[in-house]
């Protein structure tokens, strides 16, 4: 498989994630989409690393995964807390920051 294939897959993953963020209303789905985008970036890093024989990218991807884990934990915690207060995680109803 060429580098091009990896990059194409990553691009598709990223676009799917972005599309999901814009269109979905459920908080959990949005969080999953964000993870998808992050992982597409990770895929790019690993692919470049492997094809350039430079391990820096892979190390970087490891860091990125760890941070993504932490972020997911905080994100879900917020959603749980939100659900307890508002009985919903539909983001359309969570808009008190508006004018």
């Amino acid at each position: 498989m060429s580098l091009y294939t990896y990059l194409l897959i990553a691009a598709i993953m990223f676009t799917v994630g972005a599309y999901g963020i814009i269109t979905q209303r459920s908080g959990i789905k949005i969080l999953m989409c964000i993870e998808l985008m992050l992982n597409s970036a990770n895929l790019n890093l690993v692919a470049f690393s492997s094809f350039n024989n430079n391990s820096t990218g892979q190390v970087f991807a490891l860091f990125s995964i760890a941070i993504a884990a932490a972020e997911a934990a905080i994100g879900f915690a917020i959603l749980v807390a939100l659900f307890r207060v508002r009985d919903t995680i539909n983001l359309d109803n969570i808009n008190i920051l508006r004018w």
Binding site: A18, I21, I22, T23, Q24, R25, I30, L91, D92, N95, I96, L97, R98, W99
Partner: protein, 657 residues
Amino acid sequence: MFGDYAALIVLLPVLAFVLTLFLGKKLYSGGALLPIAAIAGSFIISFGTFLEIYPDKTIQQSLSWFAGMNIGILIDPLAVVMLMMVSFVSLLIHIYAVGYMAHDPAKPRYFAETSLFTAAMLGVILSDNILQFFIAWELVGLCSYLLIGFWYHKPSAAAAAKKAFLVTRVGDVLFLAGIVLLYFNMSEVVSSRAFSLEPGSFILQFKSMFAAIPHIPPGQLTLITLLFFGGAVGKSGQFPLHGWLPDAMEGPTTVSALIHAATMVTAGVYLVARTFPMFVAAPNSLLVVAYIGGFTALFAATMGLVMNDIKRVLAYSTVSQLGYMMLGLGAAGMAIGAGAVGISMFHLISHAFFKALMFLCAGSVIHAVGTNDIREMGGLFGKMKITAITMIIAALALAGIGIPLVNFGIPFSIGTSGFFSKDAIIEGAFAYGEQTGDLIPYVFAILAALLTSIYIFRLWFMTFTGTPRSERHAHESPNVMTRPLIILAVFALFFGYTQSGFYGYVDKNFELMGVEMAVHEGEAVPPSIIIVFMPVIVGVLGFLISYYIYYQRKLDVSKFITSENPVYKLLINRYYEPKLASDIIGVKLTHNVVAQSGEFVDRKIIDGLIIDNIIGRTAFKLGEVMRRLQTGVVQNYAAVIILGIGLLVILLMLGGV
């Protein structure tokens, strides 16, 4: 050796001001010692400098500042005599204040401010250019405001401070306009190459100004000098800007003594004396100086006759005496030219001694009886001998009592300092009258001399003789207060004997600067005996009138002192000047017309029309529309971000980077 440290004359009191202001509470006696030490230092340096430069040297030090201006000091005969007088009198007043202000909780502030006041005045005297002069001059005005309003919790004191500041400000604006006009003319003269500055000298230095006099058009010169004189009118309390000076009595008595004798009102006279070559070159201005001075001398003396506040009588007396000094500069200036400076400065200094003495005596009396009203005093002679005797010495000096023995072939005359100094001015006014036939200034001076003598002895008799008119246990003041009285009394008595030496020294002032002044024609005719005796005759006459009315009480003046008598009403209301100043100019003109129309423009037009209707509504409407952009839905923001990044990527690809 002292001359090298001349800058310290100003800097020492400034240093004392800073230290006393911040550390005064922790220092002995509320920080009184530092200013006293600093001003004593100023006096010692001044005196040492005098000994060094006497009889015919001057000291000039100058640093370039900005745009052709400089800062510098100039010590010539005129400056050095003023320096010695101001630092000496101020020193005595500071020592006296240790006793007088002993019970005041705000002593550090008091001593800090008086120290700065003295420094500012010394700065005025030392300046070698008119700009620096003006800066120090303004500093004097600021300090007078702070000190007149020293007891700021008293509404009358706060109002008096405000009045002093505003009224002198009128003069200051004129003075500044004069400086601007002078600068304009000077640069005109320099750029037209009619006159070139000496190397190392600066455009607004006094010596450059004097050297350029022949090249400035006479009309401009007259205008400049009149504007300068306007500044002097404000600062020296000349008619019509005299009203603040009697009101300034709201401050502590020691402050009044400082203002009246040493540190403030003399600045105006000094300004005219300092720029005297310009005045001599503009005779019309000299005429104005003479008339304003003469009129003020008489005008203020009439009000001094009826005042019942001991300090207010003295205040009018100061206004009147300053009128004499201006008269001396103006009338004698026209008659004998440069010599007028010596005559006027001599009166200024002798006046400083006896007027400081009078105020300190008044302070001693007020300290003892706790009131300012002479109707409630009386019979204090037995209880306060030192104060009473020093006060009568001051009164004799003010009235100019003495015997002009010189005219009988005896080499000296006997008299108080005021006798020598005031008579010279009156004779100067007469010499002017004889030369031009215009005797009005002389008549002003003689009538004022008569009234001066009446009011000052009225004050003395009502305060110290007769039976006590109130139940107060007066006592002599402590030594720290009476010693300065005695020293000042010695000067008030004997300073007059330095007259010929003083004239000889100060008259050389402008020669030393290389200024040629127009010499006036006319022989020095020795005035006839009657003219020589006239001031003394009216002085004694005034004494006798007061003695008759207020000591022997043979003449009942209570019929005169009623509110029905229009003359008395006019005088006790001070010619309605306070009413005019506060009601007409203050309330009707400034408040009702200027301030209210300003308020209308501000509230209705700027706030109402422009801000509310145009700017306000536009911003409001725009906000209504624009805030719809903030949906609060995170996805919308995310979509915009992604769209934006997409656009950027496309642009980059098209740009082919």
